[in-house]
């Protein structure tokens, strides 16, 4: 081995300059920094190592060298770079940007490359593989999947006299728990302050200060568009028609609105402005300011980093009591690898993707990111070594028939902005859900029709 290395070094040193340029550099943009990024860094190092070793063995082999670049707001920068004709060779994007990118001609069709690399659809959990498929073509390959669940703070449950091992199963239970978990500082006539539980509708506003909330819909603020799904709503009725104001969505956002009514819009805003980012000890959940939160599989890692010893539980997000068939609903998205259009090294990029997607490597990657794998079969080692005690739950949620993903549409960006704004209006009690979502329906139907026209003009079916 060592001799081979020395030999190859000699060869390398004696070779003309062009041979040194024989290393095939490819650029890989990744959105993650932090522990997720570090876990990918290890795979990149392993890949580069493998390539160097192979070059050591085979004299004529030109090794691939992956340079990973952490790019923040990647979904945006990647579009600008690709449209600008200067894209990376491979990039780690979010699954929900795939359709928009594909429609704009910013991605390479992976189909033939995947076939050549023997990456089979059958090996993946169907839901996750499908995330990269759009208009009959495979544009992206899932690497790290995610699902979400209700997390609760066991300490706060005990303080409220609740059984810290039992999570609410229905929305109604969630609401009842939330009331018990809400704490106020109340100023008495004597000038003393006492701490009180519940929503205290009879205490005048200037007498009470919020110190803890049982549940805040839309905290964290990443999924304002998604609440309808937990109530049986859908964002698209069919491929050509939007339905942000269907019965399920209206019910969901009426429920979201009820929290603003109970707690007070201004008060929520002020309470929120004290929250730190989700991974910090000052986050709403880890600082104990919010007792129950919808959070992703990654929360476990945040806790290990920022609040070791924090006691919490995770369970499927509750369903409305009259819709038991909605149990185990969870948003299920994935990080995907894509090859941008005009990547100068599509084949090399595919080799890297194939390397990452081998079962062992994929398991290592997902272990490092504290998530489950998108593959159908999982090794025993994966379960044994996985640090997250709830990992099986998240995988079940991800494979549940009620797992949902952001609808595949080229106008998701716009739709998302519209919904975010509508939910803003609803939560601020500025507009009732019926009107806010009705406006969204009208505007987005126009956008869908426009998008359709654009595609037709281009001759797409």
């Amino acid at each position: 081995m060592r001799i081979a290395l020395v030999f190859s070094c000699l060869l390398w040193a004696c070779a003309p300059k062009s041979h040194e340029a024989g290393v095939r550099h490819i650029t890989y943009w990744e959105k993650w920094t932090g522990f997720e990024g570090a876990s990918m860094d290890r795979l990149v190092a392993r890949f580069n190592q493998r390539e160097r070793e192979r070059a050591g063995r085979e004299a004529n082999y030109r090794p691939i060298e992956v340079e990973k670049v952490a790019v923040s707001s990647l979904e945006q920068k990647l579009l600008i770079a690709t449209a600008g004709g200067n894209p990376p060779d491979v990039a780690g994007n979010y699954s929900f940007f795939v359709p928009a990118y594909a429609d704009k001609g910013a991605l390479t069709d992976l189909g033939p490359l995947l076939a050549a690399a023997h990456i089979e659809r059958e090996n993946y959990i169907p839901h996750y593989f499908e995330l990269g498929v759009y208009r009959g073509k495979v544009w992206a390959l899932p690497v790290v999947p995610a699902s979400v669940a209700l997390h609760w703070n066991k300490q706060l449950f005990e303080d409220a006299g609740l059984d810290s091992n039992v999570a609410p199963r229905t929305i109604e239970e969630l609401d009842a728990f939330a009331e018990k978990l809400t704490l106020w500082q109340v100023r008495l006539d004597s000038g003393d302050t006492v701490v009180e539980r519940g929503y205290l509708p009879n205490v005048p506003d200037d007498r009470k200060r919020l110190i803890q909330v049982g549940f805040l819909p839309n905290e964290p603020r990443w999924w304002s568009y998604a609440w309808g799904y937990y109530f049986g709503g859908k964002l698209f009725a069919d491929a050509a028609h939007v339905s942000p104001n269907d019965a399920g969505n209206l019910r969901a956002y009426d429920w979201v609105r009820s929290y603003s009514e109970r707690l007070g819009v201004e008060r929520i805003k002020r309470f929120r402005s004290g929250f730190g980012s989700s991974s910090s000890p000052q986050s709403s959940f880890l600082s104990g300011k919010v007792a129950m939160e919808l959070q992703g599989v990654w929360l476990h890692n945040f806790i290990e980093q920022s609040a070791p010893g924090f006691r919490y539980g995770a369970a499927p997000f509750p369903y409305p009591a009259d819709r038991p068939e909605l149990a185990n609903t969870s948003e299920a998205e994935a990080d995907v690898l894509v090859i941008p259009k005009d990547s100068k090294h599509a084949h090399e990029a595919m080799e890297f993707i194939a390397f990452v997607s081998s079962p062992d490597n994929l398991e290592d990657l997902c272990l490092g990111q504290d998530k489950f794998t998108p593959l159908r079969t999982v090794s025993e080692r994966f379960w044994r070594e996985h640090p997250n005690p709830n990992i099986a739950l998240f995988r079940e949620l991800g494979s549940s028939p009620n797992a949902f993903a952001i609808p595949k549409t080229g106008i998701w960006n716009e739709y998302n902005r519209e919904l975010t704004n509508a939910v803003d209006l609803i939560q601020n009690l500025s507009e009732p859900p019926m009107r806010a979502l009705g406006d969204v329906a009208e505007r987005m139907q126009a956008a869908v029709d426009r998008d359709r026209k654009t595609l037709l003009r281009r001759g797409e079916p």
Binding site: A38, V71, L78, S280, P281, G309
Partner: protein, 368 residues
């Protein structure tokens, strides 16, 4: 421009004019003081109600030695669980924790100088790099001239600084050189078409950047410049309408006899420009240079659109990216980083105060 001391109406009014002035000066200065105060506060003081102006250090005594700690705010229960994660977070790697009684935690007034190295570290893009000592971290900085494939370098605060300086200084040189040349051509040589070109130049002063940003993106795309620093400084070498206008007006005030005398002595046109006009126009050139530097230093929209990779980011862009990723509660670091972004501008102001004030007074512009 000549200034006559004018006996204006307020001059003879009483010293009470200081009252509104002092109040207003206080209001204008308060944000800056708050910026500096926050930049020296420890993490746990951020978000305190009511906010505190003086940085306070929380510490416990262990075996006679003080250990700085970051207790949760407020202390609610009898025992507090203290996770020591800042600023030693990046050195030790692992979090140490103590279980304390609130009365064991003492405080003293002390600025947290570490916020500054911490902010510099936080702005670096790679996670492993954040754990290196500051000197080593900065020594690894990727520079604008570092080849893309050099994996031993990484993106740090210093990279952002170097990019910003490169864009600002090259742009400054370019804009001064080209605008002066063009202004000379438009003022001291008489040729047919000159006034037409000058009128077009005046008209283009009205075109704001946002109108051009999308088609310019197309131009830079065909040049292969997207994702590089080139779009941010190369165009400066083609001159700018306003600077040309400004310098032309200045050149027109220089008597033509000077050029004529030089021409008789056999001086070339460029020689006249270089040896006679430029030295005389130094104050105006300084104004153009200063304002361009300021513009480039503060620019955000241009870098946002044309830069894609962190290694090419300017300070303003790097700071905003850090904020959008880690914002929320890290105000002490954000404020420290902001001080670092502002300090050079303030220093420049004190060095070149006269040029600033005169430049703004005469041109009505100012690096905006």
């Amino acid at each position: 421009m000549k200034r006559r001391p004018s006996p204006n109406p307020l001059q003879r009014t009483h010293p009470l004019v200081h009252v509104p002035l002092l109040i207003l000066a206080g209001i204008f200065t308060l944000p800056l003081l708050w910026l500096i105060a926050t930049s020296f506060e420890p993490r746990e003081q951020i978000g305190k109600v009511p906010p505190e102006w003086l940085p306070r250090q929380y510490y416990i005594e262990r075996q006679g030695a003080p250990i700085t700690v970051t207790p949760p705010v407020p202390f609610e229960k009898g025992w507090v669980h203290v996770s020591e994660w800042s600023p030693s977070k990046y050195h030790g790697g692992k979090v140490t924790s103590f279980l304390l009684r609130p009365r064991d935690v003492k405080t003293r007034i002390a600025p947290v100088w570490q916020n500054y190295p911490e902010a510099i570290r936080a702005l670096s893009s790679s996670e492993q790099d954040k754990q290196r000592p500051l000197g080593e971290l900065l020594a690894r900085s990727s520079m604008p001239w570092t080849p893309k494939s050099d994996r031993s370098k990484s993106v740090t605060f210093l990279s952002y600084l170097a990019n910003t300086l490169l864009v600002a200084l090259l742009g400054m040189v370019g804009t001064v050189a080209s605008s002066a040349l063009v202004a000379y051509g438009l003022s001291r040589i008489e040729w047919r078409g000159r006034s037409a070109l000058f009128n077009v130049t005046l008209a283009t002063m009205m075109v704001p950047f946002p109108v051009l940003m999308i088609p310019l993106y197309g131009v830079f795309r065909s040049l292969g410049w997207i994702g590089t620093l080139l779009p941010l400084w190369v165009p400066a070498f083609c001159g700018g309408a306003f600077n040309i206008f400004l310098l032309r007006q200045f050149f027109l005030t220089i008597p033509s006899e000077l050029s004529d005398a030089a021409r008789i002595d056999g001086c070339s046109e460029f020689g006249i420009f270089w040896r006679i006009i430029l030295p005389l126009a130094r104050p105006a050139l300084a104004v153009v240079a200063l304002f361009h530097f300021l513009y480039a230093w503060n620019d955000f929209l241009g870098p946002l659109i044309y830069l894609t990779e962190p290694r090419t980011f300017t300070m303003a862009l790097g700071l905003s990216q850090y904020q959008s990723q880690n914002g929320g509660s890290e105000w002490h670091l954000l404020m420290a980083a902001s001080v670092l972004l502002i300090a050079p501008v303030v220093a420049l102001f004190f060095v070149a105060q006269r040029t600033f004030i005169q430049g703004i007074s005469t041109t009505g512009m100012g690096g905006r």
